[in-house]
């Protein structure tokens, strides 16, 4: 089992064993076998409809696989998970009340304000959360997820359609989370972002894992034709 250099804390290991998922009579994830034990950000890449979000939901427990299993090792008990959805789900109340709702450790007001400050939303703490811009909503969703102090953070295209400033804030927060030994699994269509953030990459197509490797070899010398085509900007069907 790999260990992080500075903490000596064992890495979270996620084992996906022969996972299959059927929906509406068709197989959407097919015999996925993975052992994710790299610290930092695992990036899931692939064209639309590849099954990226479904795999993430299976790992999180939102979907039950038709076959196979998912196991977590390296921690005492199951890891504490948090997920940030592509379309942020915010409670119909103020920004601060959204934070308070997720806060199960009863953190102090100043800690909550600090968390909001980290996503540059402190000044909007009393605003209705649903009235924020798309980028602000996603930043709030991420701050709220991090407030739960997860061991595993699952991010389903959190920066899709966001302005560059919001993307930068979110990427910084994820890098900061990595430094705090939070394991992240991230779905993105932005190859530049994947290069910036990822420690390892899972490339999916049509419900199958085409490649799983460390980030550097994947980006510089992908094995599969699909991954080569995807990285060169060709349309992968």
């Amino acid at each position: 089992m790999r260990e992080t250099r500075d903490s000596g804390k064992p890495n979270l290991q996620i084992s996906v064993n022969n996972l299959c998922l059927d929906m509406l009579g068709s197989r959407v994830l097919d015999q996925i076998d993975l052992t994710i034990d790299q610290p930092g950000v695992t990036m899931i890449l692939g064209p639309n409809g590849a099954g990226k979000s479904l795999l993430l939901k299976c790992i999180h427990g939102l979907l039950s696989p038709t076959q196979g299993s998912i196991g977590f090792n390296g921690l005492n008990g199951n890891p504490k998970q948090a997920m940030v959805f592509q379309k942020p789900v915010l409670l119909r109340r103020s920004v601060m009340d959204n934070m308070r709702f997720a806060d199960q450790d009863r953190q102090t007001q100043s800690e909550l304000e600090q968390a909001l400050d980290s996503v540059q939303l402190l000044e909007k703490r009393e605003h209705p959360a649903t009235q924020l811009s798309g980028g602000e909503q996603q930043r709030l969703a991420l701050a709220r997820a991090l407030l739960t102090k997860p061991d595993l953070l699952l991010l389903d295209e959190p920066t899709a359609s966001l302005d560059p400033a919001s993307v930068l804030i979110i990427e910084k927060l994820i890098q900061q989370a990595t430094r705090q030994h939070i394991k992240s699994i991230f779905i993105s269509h932005d190859i530049g972002q994947a290069r910036r953030l990822s420690a390892d990459v899972i490339f999916l197509n049509r419900g199958l894992v085409i490649e799983y490797s460390d980030a550097a070899p994947f980006f510089f010398a992908p094995h599969s034709n699909e991954a080569k085509a995807f990285l060169s900007g060709e349309i992968v069907l």
């Binding site: 999180h60 427990g61 939102l62 998970q81 948090a82 997920m83 959805f85 789900v89 409670l91 119909r92 109340r93 709702f101 997720a102 199960q104 209705p128 959360a129 649903t130 009235q131 709220r144 997820a145 739960t148």
Partner: protein, 233 residues
């Protein structure tokens, strides 16, 4: 003649006519009591139908939705049969009392509150379900969040129920009997006074009833605009 009736109606209202205010007070008492009971019954029923999974759930939702359109006279008849001397609850002697009117109104408006609550909660549950799972929110906290975040829509549902109760005539006429100083409410009094040709009293009551209905609608509009501000509409 109409002008005379209107001026007499306003005179009755402005002079705080005792009979008129007795009728008004009983109407409000009966409808508010029925509303409170319906809230206690309708909110949990609607919430359960929205967020719980059980066999026959869709049948229950269809039944509740159908009961929303139940004709008041049919409800009145059923309550009459249940409360009459030979009926199953005849021993309680409730027929032709305000309690019987409350029971009839509860049966009328509980399905409205339950069905509207179910619709509101179902939408919210679909939106929040994954988030609550992700944040490991316990059921009691989730239900509290649903109720709080849907509060404006639920207030609208409750006001819709009150509007239905206060303006209903068929059921309360059958089970209350429109007895003077005992079970006479605004709607039954309006029907009686109109049939007697006492248009001024009927108009006076009608104006108060209309004012109540307008107030309820004004409240609904205010609640909706507040809800829009918080993204709850």
């Amino acid at each position: 003649m109409l002008t005379e009736a209107f001026s007499e109606a306003f005179r009755l209202i402005l002079s705080a006519d005792a009979d008129l205010f007795e009728i008004l007070w009983l109407s409000v008492q009966v409808s508010l009591t029925a509303l409170l009971v319906s809230i206690v019954l309708g909110l949990p029923i609607g919430t359960t139908l929205a967020i719980a999974n059980f066999p026959g759930k869709n049948v229950c939702i269809t039944v509740i939705n159908s009961l929303m359109g139940m004709p008041p006279v049919v409800v009145g008849l059923l309550v009459y049969l249940a409360l009459s001397r030979s009926g199953p609850f005849g021993v309680f002697g409730l027929l032709y009392t305000p309690s019987a009117m409350v029971i009839a109104q509860v049966l009328l408006i509980t399905p409205i509150i339950a069905a509207l609550t179910c619709q509101v909660m179902d939408d919210l549950h679909k939106e929040y379900r994954d988030l609550f799972f992700s944040l490991s929110i316990p059921l009691n906290k989730a239900v509290a969040a649903y109720l709080w975040d849907a509060r404006y829509s639920l207030i609208t549902a409750v006001l819709a129920g009150f509007g239905r109760a206060i303006s209903e005539v068929g059921a309360v006429m059958i089970v209350g009997g429109n007895i003077d100083h005992l079970t006479r409410v605004m709607t039954t009094a309006i029907a009686l006074e109109t049939s007697r040709g006492e248009l001024s009293v009927a108009l006076g009551l009608g104006i108060v009833l209309l004012a109540l209905a307008l107030s309820v609608n004004g409240l609904v509009t205010t609640v909706r605009s507040r809800a829009r501000y918080y993204g709850c509409a």
